[in-house]
Amino acid sequence: MIGYLRLELMRVLRDATFLMFGIGLPVVMYLLFSNLGLAPGDRHDAGLFVMVSMAAYGGLGAALNNGAGLAEDRTRGWLRQLRLTPMTPGAVVAAKAVTGVVVVVPAVVAVLAAGRVINGVELGFGQWAALVGLLWVGTLPFALLGLGNGYLMSGQAAGLATVVCSMGLSVVGGLWFPASLFPSWLAAIARWTPTANYADLSWHVAFGAAPTLRSVAVLTGWLALFGLYARFAYRRGARKV
């Protein structure tokens, strides 16, 4: 399984599209938003807010993208080839999941590093560590959503679903434009999205507060829901190998 993990990580790190859009794009958007003053509020707070938002966007995008890659693997006959090696299907899924967990890190860290190095954002060490940790762990529901898409859909559909899910959920969750600017009905929806609650954990930490229990609870709910979705998709999709 270690060999497979290495192979998967190699594939991700050589994926120019992922490096550009998965890691580069959130950094670029962060630098644009924070330096052109497009975000509301004073420059310091807005910059901090946008840094967390874009790090969250990068993290969830990476998590979704990895799972959806399974669809391409199946289309290419790769999952069938793996089934014809002594590797167990469980080990394949586990390695894919671990890959998802690992590739989230550079996407998150790239934006935070741009904040620290380019924009000179100053936070305590504990805060930085907490941000990385929360932005990392919080991608679990999205990783499961991605796996579900990957098992259920064809390669192209899963790729599209990744874009729709990551952009759609990010916009509605207030990562691109703060939910405080939303009309009240949209703001009410935003409060229940997995994205808003995922980013909210880190928004609180960045501004020196503890994450709210409500966000933890809502995100846990989504974790359970997407977990069920992934399990359903696995049972249906695994037969198509």
């Binding site: 080839q81 089934r83 014809l84 090696t85 002594p86 590797m87």
Partner: protein
């Protein structure tokens, strides 16, 4: 009692031979909706054989191989490899397989893929040896998405043999290749067959089956319709053609051995199951003029089998 059909006297006078079959399909049936892809098919392979599963497209070859490898659950019947279920034999690293297509992922080099697959087996071949066997040593650093059709096929072959399996299964390994690439592929395969590994491959090319297999199993409409060496298959349908210039007053269809008569211009083509007897009868009738005897070719034998 697997020897149940044998004569009891013979059975009891010799000690039971321990089961040595490499793989066994027993009365396997698989339907896809209204189509019966595999119809009560049974097949047993002995160690060291190279066996061709020969049949036209849609004969059920790929489905039978899918069942054998545990990728397709049969509706009836069983598949075993070395006495184990296909899944367990695969887990134990005793099987290497090359499905009809796919299995190559982008952004990975040939060597990385081969080394990874070899690493999943308990007792693989050394990577340089795998690359040499498949004749892809010079491609080792190439990305999988940058290979020609023939190169890709040899890489897929390398993946199948990487684990030094006891049974190698190749599903239509040359279906998409041009003549040159096919020849190169079979060169690689024969190199591996020399190791004594049991090999099962499917093809719809007769020459390939005849040139590369010790035994040919002809499959059509999901059933085995012939099983033997290339020579056996030819004999089964004995299609020797005896050609003479139209002899007047001889009842050609009644000559011994003749199964069909075809007149083209002034030449008469007699298909015969016993060309010696046919020629002797022609001679006795004084009808030997510009005699030609053309031995059966496998292509004819095959077409004849499949159509009957």
């Amino acid at each position: 009692m697997s020897h149940g059909e044998q004569d009891p006297a013979i059975y009891w006078s010799t000690p039971p031979i321990p089961s040595v079959e490499v793989m066994q399909l027993t009365h396997v049936t698989k339907r896809f909706g209204p189509v019966t892809a595999v119809d009560d098919l049974s097949l047993t392979l002995s160690p060291g054989q190279t066996v061709a599963l020969l049949g036209p497209n849609g004969a059920g070859k790929s489905t039978a191989i899918g069942v054998l490898l545990g990728l397709i659950p049969p509706d009836a019947g069983t598949a075993t490899i070395f006495g184990l279920s296909p899944e367990r034999a695969v887990r134990a690293g005793r099987v290497g397989a090359m499905p009809q297509e796919g299995g190559l992922i982008p952004r990975v080099t040939v060597r990385e893929l081969v080394a990874f697959v070899a690493g999943t087996y308990p007792d693989p071949l050394p990577v340089p040896e795998i690359l040499a066997t498949a004749q892809i040593t010079e491609l080792a650093g190439r990305r999988l998405d940058k290979l020609s059709g023939g190169q890709a096929q040899r890489v897929r072959f390398a993946v199948a043999v990487a684990g030094d399996p006891d049974l190698l299964v190749l599903d239509e390994p040359t279906a998409a290749l041009d003549v040159e690439a096919r020849r190169e592929f079979w060169d690689s395969m024969r190199g591996f067959a020399a190791r004594g590994t049991t090999i099962l491959f499917s093809t719809h090319y007769l020459e390939e089956a005849d040139e590369n297999a010790d035994r040919i199993v002809v499959v059509n409409q999901g059933r085995v319709i012939a099983d033997g060496s290339g020579a056996d298959i030819k004999k089964t349908v004995a299609l020797t053609t005896v050609t003479v210039t139209s002899p007047p007053g001889v009842a050609l269809p009644e000559l011994p051995g003749v199964t069909s008569v075809e007149v083209r211009g002034d030449r008469v083509h007699l298909r015969s199951v016993d060309s010696d007897a046919t020629v002797l009868a022609l001679a006795a009738a004084g009808a030997v003029r510009d005699l030609e005897v053309t031995p059966a070719n496998l292509e004819d034998a095959f077409l004849r089998l499949v159509r009957s």
